[in-house]
């Protein structure tokens, strides 16, 4: 593959993926408001953004990992284990910093182990991170003996999850800050460029003297930390931790990344598209609910949209020369 085709693939994916996903988002918003004018109310916008925050933050990590051509399937139990650890430590009187610090260390540790499997043992992340997920599930069961403690949730965590700051909900603000950092890193930093390059052609990048292992470490650690952050916010939102609280957060964030135009094989896409993907996923659920479409109808609609977009993106990305 020549540099020219690489460039054109890259460009096509970024431009068209983002444009298509934002166009779809606008259509969805219009449909929603026509179906129910109350959809445009501030209360509803806040509720939607609140729900989107959990998915959006996890999707940051997944975007970085997917750009390198990998995937992180350890999110559900990483999220659950670290949240339960945080709530337990805080309940035992260790204080906010220790509790949250320990949870973040779990996320970093999980990310490191994931990266070692992929970058050192050269195993595919599909298998390795799935194993990691099972391992963390077992660890959670041993740690809790099946009953997470009745935990008092740190006040600051509640504030982050459901608080308001000058009339604005805090959780979406947290997401906005993280999103801005992610977009900057991807567009402006060396690490960002290496992520794309790893997904496009890792051997070439390695031969040109880049420590590609560190790129994998960066992506997986970011994903591990994002899962922990989403878990902390989810704990504040639900005012509790429980076994299986992460189960909903495996495939939906990945779908958001794909709908946002990032190539599942890596190398092209970005977080700007993922934001649209996240909002599309959340709005779609909401609209189908308002329209009282049953779960089967929801699944079919979801599947059709993903298939249609992937086909569309693949066409757009076909090399022209």
């Amino acid at each position: 593959m020549t540099t020219a085709t690489l460039k054109s693939r890259f460009g096509a994916f970024t431009r068209h993926g983002v444009a298509v996903s934002y166009a779809l988002l606008v259509v969805l918003i219009v449909v929603a408001v026509i179906l129910n004018p109350a959809f445009a109310s501030w209360a509803n916008v806040k509720a939607q953004l609140q729900i989107a925050t959990f998915i959006g933050i996890i999707a940051i990590g997944q975007t970085l990992v997917i750009l390198t051509g990998q995937i992180d399937l350890s999110v559900p139990w990483n999220l659950t284990f670290s949240s339960i650890l945080m709530a337990t430590l805080y309940g035992e009187g260790y204080g906010f910093a220790v509790a949250v610090g320990a949870a973040l260390l779990v996320g970093i540790g999980v990310g490191l182990v994931n990266a070692i499997g992929v970058a050192v043992f050269r195993l595919h992340s599909l298998v390795w991170t799935l194993g990691m997920n099972a391992l963390l599930e077992g660890a959670t069961m041993v740690y809790t003996n099946g009953q997470p403690p009745d935990s008092t949730i740190p006040g600051f965590v509640r504030f982050l999850a459901v608080g308001n700051l000058g009339g604005l909900p805090v959780a979406p603000l947290v997401w906005a800050v993280l999103a801005a950092v992610t977009i900057l890193v991807l567009a402006r930093s060396r690490f960002g460029r290496f992520l794309y390059a790893t997904g496009n052609n890792e051997p070439a990048l390695f031969l040109s003297g880049v420590a590609t292992r560190r790129v994998h470490v960066g992506a997986f650690v970011a994903s591990g930390v994002c899962a922990v952050l989403a878990g902390i916010l989810l704990t504040g939102y639900a005012s509790q931790t429980y076994l299986g609280m992460g189960n909903d957060y495996l495939l939906v964030p990945i779908a958001a990344v794909i709908i946002g135009g990032t190539n599942i094989m890596g190398g092209a896409g970005g977080y700007v598209g993922t934001i649209a993907g996240t909002l599309i996923v959340v709005l779609l659920q909401s609209i189908l609910s308002i329209a009282q479409i049953g779960q089967a109808g929801k699944n079919i609609t979801f599947g059709l949209i993903i298939i249609a977009l992937v086909l569309l993106y693949a066409r757009e990305a076909r090399p022209t020369d």
């Binding site: 129910n36 109350a38 959809f39 109310s41 209360a43 509803n44 806040k46 509720a47 939607q48 609140q50 729900i51 599930e137 959670t140 069961m141 003996n145 099946g146 009953q147 997470p148 403690p149 009745d150 935990s151 459901v162 989810l234 939102y237 639900a238 005012s239 509790q240 931790t241 429980y242 076994l243 299986g244 609280m245 189960n247 909903d248 659920q285 909401s286 609910s289 308002i290 009282q292 049953g294 779960q295 089967a296 699944n299």
Partner: protein
């Protein structure tokens, strides 16, 4: 949360019996049933305990329907080797279920009947559970208590076990083979009682939020069918359906979503994730309407604190202990219905009692109905939590 916990009743009986019919026939069944059980109990001659057992049996071990066949085996003398084959373990309900089973086999009046008890969880992989059951068959247990990963996938290994002379009692997620004895709660009846409560509290009119469980599961369909049958008779009731997946976090999100869309709800019929449902109302700053729901500790804690009208009925994790009890009865030659309809543990805001049917010091996700009193299955919460999973 407990997406994988819930039961599925064998299709055979449910088709044959027409479960929509009112429960009047039950009292008749019960009389017939007492007669047949009384004979069986007399034959087993469990000295001393006999009177109490016969009394307990008439309300506890109820046949699923009037035409439920009875099973009777040649009486064996204990103690017996019992094995519990569980599939998924990663949620609170399953954990408690295993803990209660262990606590039951260690009880003073049960322990002499138990030569060994082992509980193993295989995960949701059907092939893994088949392998696990094969091990149990090889090790020559007397009875296998089964919470199945699939309603049909384990039928052949259950048949093999029965061929080898092993009694199989299937509960919660039950199997469809006629060779297994079934123990479960009637999900249709549960859904109907919830709906009757909401009709009663709302005067049969208004907007009702229907929070469903995991789409495509038997339990969700049965409970919702009952709700629609009841609500369908009241033209002034308008229902809005959402799916909470029996998970607090998911139920909270979809309820918040429904509330934000502007409808004012006069009642909620929810089959799980109810703690999240209440919290969504709280967070939206709305008054909490009458809610009929499952039996999570958080739901009952919030009802006790906020005093909204609540009906709470849940799938009891003590179904495992009831299944062991049924197995011990049958092994000792007692005639027993092949499909047992377990009592529905019920609480309302007025009957809530701290430390008895809800537990302020335990997590929201804890499942409260740990005891089935009419069956003599009373458990102390601390004793259960001490058990290793």
């Amino acid at each position: 949360m407990y997406a994988l916990m819930s039961g599925r009743i064998g299709s055979r009986w449910e088709v044959a019996q027409g479960r929509d019919e009112p429960r009047e026939e039950t009292s008749m069944q019960r009389r017939q049933f007492i007669k047949s059980v009384a004979g069986g109990v007399a034959a087993t001659a469990v000295s001393g305990l006999m009177g109490r057992r016969a009394f307990a049996a008439d309300k506890c071990i109820m046949p699923w329907a009037s035409d439920t066949p009875m099973v009777k085996r040649e009486a064996k003398s204990g103690p017996f080797k019992i094995a519990l084959s569980n599939s998924y373990i990663g949620n609170t309900w399953r954990t408690e279920m295993v803990q209660i089973a262990k606590a039951y086999t260690e009880r003073d009046d049960v322990k002499p009947m138990i030569a060994s008890f082992q509980a193993t969880s295989s995960g949701n992989e059907v092939s893994a559970q088949i392998a696990q059951m094969n091990q149990m068959i090889l090790s020559g247990v007397d009875a296998i208590i089964l919470n199945a990963a699939s309603p049909t996938g384990l039928n052949s290994v259950v048949d093999q076990a029965v061929d080898a002379g092993i009694l199989v009692v299937s509960f919660d997620n039950v199997v469809t083979t006629e060779n297994a004895v079934l123990v479960n709660e009637d999900q249709y009846s549960m859904g109907k009682q919830w709906a009757d409560f909401i009709v009663d509290k709302t005067g049969g009119k208004g907007n009702i939020l229907v929070v469903r469980g995991v789409a495509g599961t038997f339990v969700d369909q049965e409970r919702t069918r009952a709700a629609n049958d009841v609500f369908g008779k009241h033209p002034e009731i308008k229902t809005t359906e959402i799916y909470g997946n029996w998970d607090d976090g998911t139920a909270q999100k979809v309820t918040a979503n429904a509330l934000a869309s502007g409808t004012k709800f006069d009642g909620v019929w929810s089959q799980g994730g109810d703690t999240g449902v209440v919290r969504a109302f709280q967070q939206a700053g709305m008054d909490i309407p009458p809610i009929a729901g499952e039996a999570e500790n958080g739901f009952r804690k919030l009802a006790s604190e906020l005093k909204f009208p609540m009906l709470s009925i849940g799938q009891s994790p003590a179904l495992s202990a009831l299944s062991i009890k049924v197995a011990l009865d049958i092994l000792q030659g007692k005639e027993t219905p092949r499909s047992v309809s377990a009592p529905l543990p019920t609480a309302t805001t007025d009957t809530l009692k701290s430390g008895e049917n809800f537990f302020p010091d335990l997590p929201d996700s804890f499942f409260t109905p740990i005891s089935i009193p009419v069956c003599g299955l009373d458990f102390d919460v601390n004793q259960i939590l001490k058990q290793k999973v």
